[in-house]
Amino acid sequence: MMSHYLSLLVFFPLIGAVLILFMPKEQTGFIRKFATGWAAIELLLTIPLLMTLIHPILPQIVPEIGMQEGMRFYFVEHGDWIPSLGVSYIMGVDATSILLILLTQLISLIALASSWTAVHEREKEYYTWLLLLHAGMVGVFCALDMFLFYVFWEVMLVPMYFLIGIWGGEKRLYSAIKFFLYTLAGSVLMLVAILAIYFRTSLPGSGAEAGLHTFNYFHWLAQIPFMHFSGSALVWLFTAFAIAFAIKVPMFPVHTWLPDAHTDAPTAGSVILAGVLLKMGCYGFLRFNLPFFPTATVALLPVLLGLCIIGIIYGALCAMVQTDWKRLVAYSSVSHMGFVMLGIFSLNLIGMKGGVLQMINHGISTGALFLLVGIVYEQRHTRALSEYGGLSAQIPNFAMIFMIMTMSSIGLPLLNGFAGEFPILAGAFQMNSEFTTLFGVPYLLPILSVTGVVLGAAYMLWLYQRTMFGKITNEKNRTLKDLNRREWAYLLPLVILAFYIGIFPNRIFTFIEKDVAANVLRYTDTAMKEFPTTSAQREMKLAAEHPAGAPAVAGEGAPALVTAPAAPVETAPTAH
């Protein structure tokens, strides 16, 4: 039985965008209410996904599209698209994508709601682009066909380009083009790698199409280990994908588009950028890079970890000296995303579950911080920190929400930031010693990453103090108005989520754990075991002696998950 649930989720915003095109552009009030309402309905449509969090459902295995036993995907749907090219229409989600889609729906709705009074020109186009962007983002998290994925990946670029370029700040054209070219450069590299693999794939089976190339994600997973790529070729392919995703994350040193794009984007754009777009890079690593190229991942791990650590510290150092409110938050994103990537590259369950949760957390807290900047920017039209000061006396509710979000951002326990950060760090400390030892000092690498927590407190608290505390020195700030009902309405869900995730993280963790173990870790674990180092061998020996300690997750089906990926139906497909 096939359902079209995910298709509905992806294309529903698109329908809304098309409908807006038919509306008279003078009716701005109606258009913005319509767009927001449409996104609200879309959010309601997501309830079945939310229910999977509460009542776990069994993963679906569809053998005819090449899904192997032990994979965990839900709501799978499949069909042909361009059969002659091997392009199919496969959608499916696992815990990571479900969480990211939920985040997307919420952030998108909030972004729409935050634009009502912020955008006053070409509103019809604006809301069309936002809904289009919404569709693209959901699509990226659903697509399980490389071609389909690439299409969504590129589609999503265009609306964001226009959002920054038309409704942005002072240097909007520069920032928009920079954002576009940066991402495009990565995408093109990824395309090359996609094609390189594509030409070595072949559709299994005995039908008329057997032997044709395919873009099917599951066939790729099964066939890549048998494609006879040399080690260095795998590293190149990994790198091509990795650059595309690293630009999106962004990781050091390809992060410089981010401060410009964030600073010049309209509030809604910044919120979506921080909330969702950055997560696509992490998602790409989890979904494609790690399962496709586990051996290359392990081989490049020292470099990748190094870039994470540099990103964490470097981003924080740069954030320290910013004088522009938005740019400061933007640089803090570089630092925080370094934590997410550190969790993912720790290649163990704890780090990865922390990493996945931290993606959501970053979306919530940084999204909220951008919304808050937007609220004062709308009234004062400046982002310069020197223009502010003493606001807590003038706008106490704003100051309270800002304080909560600051604390969430710097990882205070019982708020969401800590729930993600702490497992990430725990995971980093539990990596094999050859990855954590730096300059001969054991555990230096994870300890360095903890400095990011200290620095985070330093720049965020200073930001808070400079804007909120003291006496009001700038008379213009005496006209600032505190949160109105609409602003409360879109900030409150984020505050509640921040507390909820902080106090009850385990429900989400158990949701993430099995899927991450089944869809990502079983590939990297195998590669890790084969990694020819003394300590890895020592661990293998230990695992052999204590088989009980081996399973990656507690509970059902655990032992099966750590076995090597099953052999593909056809070995050694011939490409050329």
């Binding site: 090359v192 392919l237 320290m320 704890i350 604390m407 760090l425 539990q430 993280p505």
Partner: protein, 777 residues
């Protein structure tokens, strides 16, 4: 009775809830409509409830036959009982799940829970008891300040966090409370968001709060690292599971150096939270907060968290006496160092702050010399007499309408009789006069340091002999540490001489000497600030009234009412007599040691094994008699000396300052440690930040912009080329060029995508190189 144990989570939860009610829901509205009583009642009620519940739970724990109770529990109960340690863990749910790849917590589900045992019981009781008194005190003390609801909300938030810290059943839960109290401390130090704290440096209260938070975060960096190293090696950080892990000898299997490092890192966290060298610098500035906050957080409770943590981890740290030697040395040095700064400070609260740092040093000294029970006993007695003195100082400040400088006090004993005698009780307690509290705890620590032989036979070993640090550390291998005990004793003894002196000075200058209350500069900065503060929050007329009243009664000094006096009286009794429950002289009567014995047994066992069964002290009486004599001599002697110098107006202090101007200036400048840190760390750090951002703009982003410029340039160039060269040279040359180029290209167009990819990447690299050269030129 045992069903009370299921209510353990309520102990921190109720203050949390009231903090939310006051801070987020009702508080601002209640304050705006003048119903401050509601806010106060909710806040005090929450803490008093926690106290009563704690008391009942502790009674339940002590009166229950735990072994029988354990058998009566169902299989998957959320209550775990450890009869040997008299310990009960209640874990209603798994907060973060497992944090190890093994997936299953070795200790069942008790990692994320609330733990009641004799150790958490004593902390629980005195924290909630003193907390309640200080809440009551705050009602009167804070009456003039706007943001009443915020203050009480933060105080409750602090109580909740502190109780989580105490009740946590694992280092993870402890860390939650640890961070929580840090934030509350930050919020409360910076409570007066628009006031200047330090006129000389221009430091605002917010600055002081931020300084506290970031210093503590540096400690947290170390603490978390230590905890996570332990977690990575032990596979758990639940206290019960860790203890079992040590008990089964697994800890000994861990690389010894790593274990030392883990314990030292955790101690590093404690140096920040409990204000020890080198991270003590935030505590003196924490006095920017309202005085009840200083009493509660920065004297009695939060700052002792580091000692509590080390006592809690005693079973582990007993394995690494070399790490404890560091603890003892740092504690002793801090005790002495901070005391010297207390000698010259003029702010009544700062004297007490330095005294707190110094006393905390003694507590670490006790823990460091393998006497955790004594260290914790000092935590207990200190909580009473230091809370008492801070509240006494607060009462003086309140009566004098926000004068804090002891140069403008004097002869207050007649006007403020109750405050006077309670403060005196605190002074005799801290000075170590027998039979008052400080004597029993502090002198026990010193006696243990001198005589318990904890470091006998401890040699340093296990340091790496290879690598960069090996060269540095290798030479210590094999050196013995027996000198540590007597050394810290000597340092501690000198500190013990200074303590009664600066306390005597403070007491004499405030309550005796000459009446200088009128000498305060006419433009009292603090009063001004206060007025502005009330204006800024001008929504309640109360502030204005208070201000007006302030002008009228500026010189009328009279004792405040019972809200302030009763907490003082009760604490004074505690300060005088709380020492009697732990008299080391009479082992049979030493309730304290008996109470804590189940918790400290494991560590003592380890030590006894190491020392070959001679852990117990052979002849305590002789040393104790010596301690009594020295204590009397030192305590009374130096109190008398202070009295001689400061009791009536003399010129001895000025003469002494004139005789040793450099030393005096050094002490006044607090040994210039703040300036040193600014020079060594803070300024280089900001420079580093600027360099990083400059690098980002010029090089990383410069490369990108350079690439863009290069592309633009090349497109211009190619269009130029198109027009002039291609058109100019005509078709003639074209055929030749194409033939030549295709020969080169042919090799690349092999149809292999890898080769394309290689070319693509090479092209990009070449471009980047070009750009880089462009930048460099």
């Amino acid at each position: 009775m045992t069903s009370l144990l299921y209510l353990l989570p309520l102990i921190p939860l109720v203050p949390f809830l009231m903090a939310a009610v006051n801070g987020l829901l009702l508080g601002r509205r209640a304050e705006a409509s003048g119903k401050r009583g509601v806010i106060q009642a909710l806040a005090i009620g929450a803490v008093a409830f926690s106290f009563l519940l704690s008391l009942s739970a502790v009674i339940a724990l002590k009166t229950t036959d735990l072994a029988a109770f354990e058998k009566s529990l169902p299989d998957h109960s959320s209550l775990h009982v450890y009869p040997e340690q008299q310990r009960v863990v209640y874990s209603p749910s798994s907060w973060m799940g497992s944090l190890t790849s093994g997936g299953v917590n070795p200790d069942g589900d008790s990692t994320w829970g609330f733990m009641l045992d004799p150790l958490s019981a004593v902390m629980l009781l005195f924290v909630t008891f003193i907390g309640t008194l200080i809440h009551i005190f705050s009602v009167r003390y804070m009456e003039d300040d706007a943001g009443h609801y915020k203050f009480f909300s933060y105080l409750n938030l602090f109580m909740g966090s502190m109780l989580i810290l105490i009740l946590g059943s694992s280092l993870g839960v402890l860390f939650v409370g640890w961070e929580g109290v840090g934030v509350c401390s930050y919020l409360l130090i910076g409570f007066y968001t628009d006031r200047i704290f330090d006129e000389k440096t221009g430091m605002t209260c917010s600055d002081a709060g931020r300084k506290a938070f970031i210093t503590n975060r540096i400690g947290d960096l170390m603490f978390a690292s230590g905890v996570l190293i332990l977690l990575a090696n032990a596979g758990t950080f639940g206290f019960a599971a860790l203890e079992a892990w040590v008990h089964h000898g697994h800890a000994a299997a861990m690389p010894h150096g790593l274990l030392v490092a883990a314990v030292l890192l955790m101690f590093g966290g404690a140096t920040a939270k409990s204000a020890q060298i080198p991270l003590y610098v935030w505590l003196p500035d924490a006095m920017a907060g309202p005085t009840p906050v200083s009493a509660l957080i920065h004297a009695a409770t939060m700052v002792t968290a580091g000692i509590y943590m080390l006592v809690r981890m005693n079973f582990l740290s007993a394995l690494v006496p070399e790490a404890l030697a560091v603890v003892a040395l740092v504690g002793a040095c801090t005790a002495l160092f901070a005391a010297t700064m207390g000698l010259v400070a003029n702010d009544i609260k700062k004297v007490l702050a330095y005294s707190t740092v110094s006393q905390l040093g003694y507590m670490f000294l006790g823990v460091g010399v393998g006497a955790p029970a004594s260290g914790l006993f000092h935590v207990f007695t200190h909580a009473f007499f230091k809370a008492l003195m801070f509240l006494g100082a607060g009462a003086v400040i309140y009566s004098l309408h926000h004068v804090q400088d002891i140069r403008y006090m004097g002869q207050l004993r007649k006007k403020l009789p109750t405050i006077h005698w309670t403060f005196l009780a605190g002074v005799v307690a801290i000075a170590g006069i027998m039979p008052f509290a400080g004597f029993w705890s502090k002198d026990e620590i010193l006696w243990q340091a001198l005589s318990n032989g904890f470091f006998k036979g401890v040699t340093l070993h296990g340091f790496p002999t290879t690598g960069f640090f090996g060269a540095l550390l290798g030479w210590i291998n094999g050196h013995t540490l027996a000198w540590v005990g007597p050394t810290v004793y000597a340092i501690g003894l000198i500190g013990a001489c200074i303590t009664p002196f600066y306390m005597g000075r403070l007491y004499a200058l405030v309550f005796h000497n000459s009446d200088r209350t009128g000498d305060a500069p006419a433009h009292d900065a603090h009063a001004d600030e206060h007025a502005v503060h009330a204006d800024a929050h001008g929504h309640d007329a109360h502030g204005h009234d208070a201000h007006a009243a302030h002008d009228d009664h500026a010189h009328e000094i009279k004792e405040p009412d019972g809200f302030i006096l009763w907490p003082l009286r009760i604490l004074a009794i505690g300060a005088l007599f709380s020492g009697l429950i732990g008299m080391g002289l009479f082992p049979k009567l030493n309730l304290w040691e008996h109470w804590l014995a189940p918790i400290l047994e494991s560590g003592e066992h380890t030590t006894a094994l190491r020392l070959g069964g001679h852990a117990a002290l052979h002849n305590p009486v002789l040393e104790w008699v010596l301690a009594i004599i020295s204590s009397f001599a030192i305590g009374l002697g130096f109190l008398y000396l202070a009295w001689k110098v400061y009791g009536v107006k003399t010129n001895i202090p000025e003469r002494a300052a004139a005789k040793f101007p450099r030393l005096y200036q050094l002490l006044v400048d607090k040994w210039s440690i703040d300036e040193l840190y600014a020079f060594l760390f803070i300024r280089p750090f900001y420079a580093l930040c600027r360099v990083a951002f400059g690098f980002d703009k010029t090089f990383v982003d410069g490369a990108v912009n350079g690439a863009a410029k290069t592309t633009l340039f090349s497109s211009f160039a190619s269009s130029f080329f198109d027009k002039i060269v291609v058109d100019g040279a005509g078709v003639n040359g074209t055929g030749w060029v194409v033939r030549k180029l295709s020969a080169v290209n042919g090799r690349w167009q092999s149809g292999q995508v890898q080769r394309y990819a290689t070319g693509f990447v090479l092209g990009i690299l070449a471009l980047l190189a070009l750009v880089w050269i462009n930048q460099a030129l």
